[in-house]
Symmetry: C2
Subunit: 330 residues, 2 copies
């Protein structure tokens, strides 16, 4: 089982409106809701790949209730039948099994995020609530649940921002607990929580170019990726948007990119890359295959008409066509 | 007791953000929620004036649950003590008594409205969900509750838009039921529901200048107001924004305006005017006093720092200074 942690889960609400005009009144033409937060997105993609997943983190209030109700029907709220892509593990269940809910209840209400899609331009304006304040007792309850879940986990992903009330070194603590339990751990966050988390020596971090620059002070990807590795991560996979990824690992340095830049909605592409890396890790694939999967999944997510989901047909096609090239190590 | 009907209630959510930039991602700095929809706003102001109020309409889903939980704590979510203004009826209770919840449960979820306040400009961008679909059985349940509530009502206000699934002549039916029960009825809506509703001969309609122009085809206030009266309303009070109101009644025609144009947030000013007209009607005040109260309340709402609430001190001061002038009848 793969465990994903989302401390600041969200009820993701999407509004469609003919045109967004600041300071005007808009009648929303369509409303959709789905469970959100990076770790939940990662789990949805992992489940779609045929992996058993468990999600933990916090959920509370009426928005938390809705999020938990919607969790089993993910990844496809429109009710289409789903079949795992061709390279799903042989022992994967024939039918999609949704992420298992191991979220910890909390007194505060799970935040909402509102994505307003302008139907004229196709652009999205995002409004993110800050999230509930987590009490020390709730954090302690989470830690106990997390330790328990690590016992059955093949890998764990720690994803996204910290809600108010959680100390900035929280991810470092969670990394250390995973390492203590012998569970490979991937960290995908930003800012100070990333800086502290890396120092606790996670197996893998997946910063994007901006996060990497903030961490290392360098905008030169190869230099910054190597610098991030020296800070404590065993491997660093930097996502470079449409250019693919750059990976610095104990086995070597690689670049991997799609056959052609993809046009579409990049929402969730990074979460799909995390799911690709993590699933390939637990399947003991070598680095080039892990990176190919990450790039194919994130590109297939950009190409999908539904934000945050990947197109399984495009994924199968892309997987063979991703170019992975080894870089000289110095 | 004064009854207010809100068929399309809403959970009004306000976000504050440093600056709203289309197509960017925003971290919301403050989130507030309160029960919304015109009839609920009217009831809140009526209750603040010391009147017993009952609210009906529909509420459903998790958003409906939150709305009903917040109803008793209105009008002031910040928990300040509230005292009725100086001209509250002598027999008004010393303490504020909140609107009584007689909302009819519905399977669909009560809509949300999102007001995004740009803290740099002070301007608000509004996103309104369409509302739940009301089934024929739910509409029948509402009609039964409405007829029952009319039995104890001194007046009724029918407020706001119709949710999906309710026929466009619904307000006309509700106006006829009120008249049949001998209860004075005020209608505050727009478009075709207003056109149909007026033909059922309500005691009072309160269109704004735009609604009046759409109804009558005329932008000349006096002509349009008289035309609206000829269409069936016993009295028409047109709200003309910062200029106050123009009233065509069986007793004469009046203009009423504030001593000076008010600067502030006009959200809810129209609902406060409705509360002023309705409270003065059940207190059997003559038309000039009714109009003075409506203008003083709506101006005190514009001046209030909290959107949709009125400033009681400003209200008391304004009440004596509103200018009401009779217009020649032809």
């Amino acid at each position: 089982m793969i465990l994903t942690v989302t401390l600041n889960t969200a009820l993701d609400i999407t509004y469609r409106t003919p045109r967004l005009v600041p300071h005007a009144t808009h009648r929303v033409s369509e409303v959709t809701e789905r469970p959100g937060g990076k770790g939940l997105n990662v789990a949805r993609v992992l489940a779609a790949l045929g992996h058993e997943t468990v999600v933990t983190g916090f959920a509370g209030g009426r928005t938390g209730d809705v999020l938990r109700e919607l969790l089993p029907v993910a990844p496809d709220p429109r009710g289409r039948a789903f079949s795992p892509p061709a390279d799903a593990p042989v022992d994967a269940p024939a039918a999609f099994s949704p992420p298992v809910d191991a979220l910890v209840p909390i007194a505060g209400a799970t935040r909402r995020t509102i994505a307003v899609v302008d139907e004229t331009t196709g652009d999205t304006t995002q409004l993110n609530e800050p999230g509930p304040v987590v009490s020390p007792a709730e954090w302690a309850a989470f830690l106990a649940r997390y330790e328990e879940l690590l016992g059955g986990a093949d890998a764990v992903a720690l994803c996204g921002s910290l809600p108010p009330g959680i100390h900035v070194g929280a991810y470092a603590d969670l990394v250390r607990a995973a390492r203590g339990a012998g569970v490979p751990v991937l960290l995908d966050t930003s800012g100070e929580p990333l800086r502290r988390g890396i120092a606790a020596r996670p197996d893998l971090v997946k910063p994007n170019a901006d996060e990497l620059a903030r961490l290392t002070g360098s905008r030169e990807p190869l230099r910054a990726t190597r610098d991030a590795r020296r800070r404590g991560a065993h491997a660093v996979v930097a996502s470079l948007g449409p250019d693919g990824v750059l990976a610095a690992t104990p086995d070597g340095v690689w670049r991997a990119g799609p056959p052609a830049p993809a046009k579409g909605n990049p929402t969730g592409a990074g979460d799909s890359a995390v799911a690709g890396l993590l699933s390939a890790l637990v399947e003991h694939l070598p680095w080039p295959a892990r990176l190919a999967r990450a790039v194919a999944l994130s590109t297939a997510t950009v190409l999908s008409p539904v934000a945050g989901e990947f197109d399984p047909v495009a994924y199968d096609e892309l997987l063979a066509r991703v170019r992975v090239t080894e870089q000289p190590t110095q």
